[in-house]
Symmetry: C2
Amino acid sequence: MTELRREPITRMWVGIETDSPKGPSDYLPFKQDYRPHESGGPCPFCPGNEGMTPPETFSIGKEGGGWSVRVVPNKSPFFHVEGDFDRRPEGMYDLMEAIGAHEIVIEAQEHDRNLATLEADQIGKGLLAYRERLRDLTRDRRFQQFLIIKNHPGVFNRHPHSHLMALPVVPKIIDEEISGTLDYFQRKERCIYCDMIREELSLGKRVILETGHFLVFSPFASRYPFETWIIPKIHSSDFHSIEPELIGDLSRAIQSLFGRFHRLFSDPSYGLTFHTSPVQARHRPEYHWHIETRLRIGLREGFEWGTGFFVNPTPPEDAAAYLRESE
Amino acid sequence: MTELRREPITRMWVGIETDSPKGPSDYLPFKQDYRPHESGGPCPFCPGNEGMTPPETFSIGKEGGGWSVRVVPNKSPFFHVEGDFDRRPEGMYDLMEAIGAHEIVIEAQEHDRNLATLEADQIGKGLLAYRERLRDLTRDRRFQQFLIIKNHPGVFNRHPHSHLMALPVVPKIIDEEISGTLDYFQRKERCIYCDMIREELSLGKRVILETGHFLVFSPFASRYPFETWIIPKIHSSDFHSIEPELIGDLSRAIQSLFGRFHRLFSDPSYGLTFHTSPVQARHRPEYHWHIETRLRIGLREGFEWGTGFFVNPTPPEDAAAYLRESE
């Protein structure tokens, strides 16, 4: 990618690849087939193939030598760290260079593991790697938003990994959440997520599990069947300020949730994103970091892409009951 | 569906099916497979099987007898016309009954046609059916928004058809467009879409084709590769006020565009939605109806669902050039 362009009506930033643009023939082999597939050949994330990736930006060692978690720059990044940070007009439109960071967190040595089958301790090392990289990246004042996104299986590789990005703009969904939470805070002087946690704990019907520090629940207006949020029970606006002693608790919550998904749907495809406060405004009283997860199950009607109108055939109360019972 | 629930932070309405909720076993056969498939058995939209659908709400006859276009209520509607229109709280949340209309427009007798292979005249009859149904539905004061959505192939049936819905709420994307256009209008006293049409016509590089009354172009911040918008050149806020004499021109523009998609991508899967003004506020000076189309090509990274951050590997200038040349 080389450009960020702003859609002038809804003011959403879109990344456009102008360096090596794809034409129709690049899309033909994948016609109507969204399913991920592995490329074949050696896996660049497996031990022994470290030379296939750029040098590490961070790693956690294994007892007895070698690595347990590695973080490397993405070989085909959406963003480049170098370049001019110029926002400029193009006619009536807005444009900027795609300055940013795009790293890959390789979460284990084992190729065929995922959040349901990794040890909680290993999941914790991945979370610690996120935290350390984000804390380092906060020093670059050009970055406005961090994104951590994990897909299982990955689009081109099923080796357990996540994408960690630092963007020079705040993406649409985070921007909307900030506006929504600010609006609520101005009326109530309380964080809406904190109120939601209280409400869900008192009702119980959408709660999946609770640990010492985290609540795992199905949100009231779930857009996707079995949509699940993981949220710290104590107010905190950004993930990278998490105390290391909470990481063990969070990794057990994640492992338990994905173990339940695994049992109910037998190795489903899933996605997970961290929602955390924009970088340069820390400790917001109105915003509350959390993780949103989505299972890729079922056929969607395809209405939501053009309308933002989601239809969900599984009420969150039912989803939470199935997940609670699948311990 | 029986409920509309409002997500409290971003205030998006989500449809939740509480009548016949789906559990994990309902999703297992479709694991990781989003591809549409036909159910087998007779097609309820083919001639001779009219008894398989509810009675028509509208139809256009064929010369020599029979029908050319039929509109029928959806057998599994998301919305019900009957019921109480009560908005109510549930704890801290907002809820309402899913009152509305959900009809299917059967756009031709032929099972294996689509917008690329139908005659322009036949496409025009489908457009006329949309117009007539919407004009009838405007009389119900409970409806706030019309949606017309077409997927090819349909999720469960490839017979050419569209979904036409009347909602008691304004879905998120339309709501954002209204806010964005209103904001622009307040600053400039001009419609932003009208300005965009002027800009695109003067630059030319993102124009695909132009007819007497319509412009077909690739938008500056295209979220999807080969995303295309079709827009009337003269300001008009709602589709259903279209003059019948413009329908022929629009159907030729649609047929030409989808013919180009067909040649470049050999019968691609696609979606198309009409963006039109909320029902109860007609003739908005700031809003401009249009059609947005999306090809379902390529593998997406899966970042956009959790972030609203789209990455597009084909710049709109390239997409427009390919489509212009594929006449």
